[in-house]
Amino acid sequence: MTDTPSDSGFTPDARLYFRAREGWRWAEALPWIVAIAAFFVFPDYMALGTQILIAIIFALSLDLILGYAGIVTLGHAAYFGAGAYATGMLSAHLGWGEPISAMLFGGLVGAALGFLSGWVLLRYHGLTLLMLTLATAILLMEGANAAEYWTGGFDGLVGISIWPLFNHFEYDLWGHTYYWYALAVLFCCFLVARRIVHSSFGRSLVGIKGNVNRMHAIGTPVHGKLVKIYTISAGMAGIAGGLFAESNAYVTLDVMSFARSGTVLIMLVLGGTGRLYGAFLGTVVYLVLEDELAKLSPEFWEFGIGLLLVVVVLFMRGGMLGALDDLVAWARGKGKP
């Protein structure tokens, strides 16, 4: 053991290593360039584009808890839905339709709900936690169904009227305004998420995911930290929900459905967890594939998605982005003798 290179006196620079991990890479400009280019290349698809951007924000919020803190949930739509209803009801019942504040209100309600439910849920782990997240979303959906006077129940919440953005940019039929609006919100959410995962707090979340016993043994307030990130994640999901309500001007119980919780999980796993950009790639692939396959065969499009999921889960550790990373590493390794 004394002969290993470790004792040779060479000390690698840890600071460079940490900085390199946090630093921006050129490749990170790519998704944003694609998003902007898409507007000019597919101007007729901007309604779909907006829905994709909203779904990315939602998947990004899930990545914060699943990819970084290791919290597996089947009920994340609870917070998306809470945000959607909060934003929708603000307009439908109180007549407030200023888009940015209404969306932030959705985020606030999502965060509050995330804090309250997370406080209880996160005392459990494994299968118990999974079932409790599922139960939370079901309870909330049934609650929304029962509160028919406020939510419109099964028929959905109507009467949402959103004012022009900055009192200037009207909602347009092609969804151009909302595309830019959603893209700006996504960018802000992404900056916040990126900042958090590279902070000291973010690193200790990775520690909790990696070995929770050890984190307890070094005195980490594990529950407190999990509740903190869960609240932030739920807030981001609520913002996505708020945007959804504004762009559709209509909210149904479906926003809290099990299907939505499952779909966002599939999107993230497809793209790759714990890498932020997995949310981008997974969501785009899922929704574009859904759109294309549905045209091809309205009855069997889910088969294609299922098949892709099987391939990714079995053969691509770290999702499609992980596979891409491996491919790049392999190509680089091959380039060198």
């Binding site: 053991m1 470790s6 004792d7 902070s199 070995n211 043994a217 930290k225």
Partner: protein, 250 residues
């Protein structure tokens, strides 16, 4: 003198299995105390009770004279109690330096910071690197822990607890699983620890125990059978019979 660590009548049972029975221990500041006993005697359980990973059914734990029985594991760590695990509990996918950064972040409260980039806390990284040098691990700083040989992983296990700057350190078989040719490296590291840390070490290798410890407790079936200096323990007939057995006679 106020003992650094004290247990009073600590007891624990799992159903009908009584694993810890009225265990009372005392460690002075700077103690070098060994806990020995056959497999299944309840040594690891005792460490879990002291550190708060398990809660006791009866009895109390005192740290520096303060009763910490009702405190959480995190609360005990904040007061200066640290432990290692018999089976490595590391962040296997993270680099060695990041493993050691974790306790420093928690101890200093920086782990709460949600906004500032981790790399900008350069004193944390400096402290981590200094700690690695102390344990001759600095060359492996950027290696993922899972790629290290087991002996070096055991050193990381110790390094993490040192990052907490403990006043009381509980070592659960620090050389377990390390080839005997390399166990002296672990022992050297332990022998070089600051003198003011009170250390409770569980160890099977009698050579290490007699070399390192100034006092020894023998645990058998959850009971402290006898306590004394290494010489007293080596000569004790009861200990020879139940524990050292043939080895002591031969």
């Amino acid at each position: 003198m106020i003992p650094a660590l004290e247990t009073r009548d600590l007891s624990k049972h799992f159903g009908a299995l009584y694993v810890t029975q009225d265990v009372s221990l005392r460690l002075e500041p700077g103690a070098r105390h060994a806990l020995i006993g056959p497999n299944g005697a309840g040594k690891t359980t005792l460490i879990n009770l002291i550190s708060g990973a398990l809660s006791a059914n009866r009895g109390s734990v005192l740290l520096g004279g303060d009763d910490i029985t009702a405190q959480s594991q995190a609360g005990r760590v904040k007061r200066g109690l640290a432990r290692t695990f018999q089976i490595n509990q590391l962040f296997r996918d993270l680099t060695v330096v990041e493993n050691v950064t974790m306790p420093i972040l928690e101890r200093s409260g920086i782990g709460r910071n949600i906004w500032r980039r981790a790399s900008t806390f350069s004193h944390v990284l400096d402290e981590a690197m200094a700690l690695l040098s102390q344990l001759h691990l600095h060359g492996d700083a950027l290696t993922p822990v899972r790629e290290l040989p087991y002996g070096r992983q055991r050193l990381v296990e110790i390094a993490i607890t040192l990052g907490l700057k403990p006043s009381v350190l509980l070592l659960d078989e620090p050389a377990a699983g390390v080839p005997s040719a390399e166990s002296h490296i672990i022992l050297d590291v332990i022998a070089a620890l600051p003198e003011d840390i009170a250390i409770l070490i569980i160890e099977h290798d009698m050579e290490i125990v007699f070399q390192f410890a100034k006092s020894i407790s023998v645990l058998v079936a959850g009971n402290v059978l006898v306590e004394g200096t290494p010489e007293e323990i080596a000569e004790n007939q009861e200990v020879r019979a139940v524990y050292l057995g043939v080895e002591a006679d031969g």
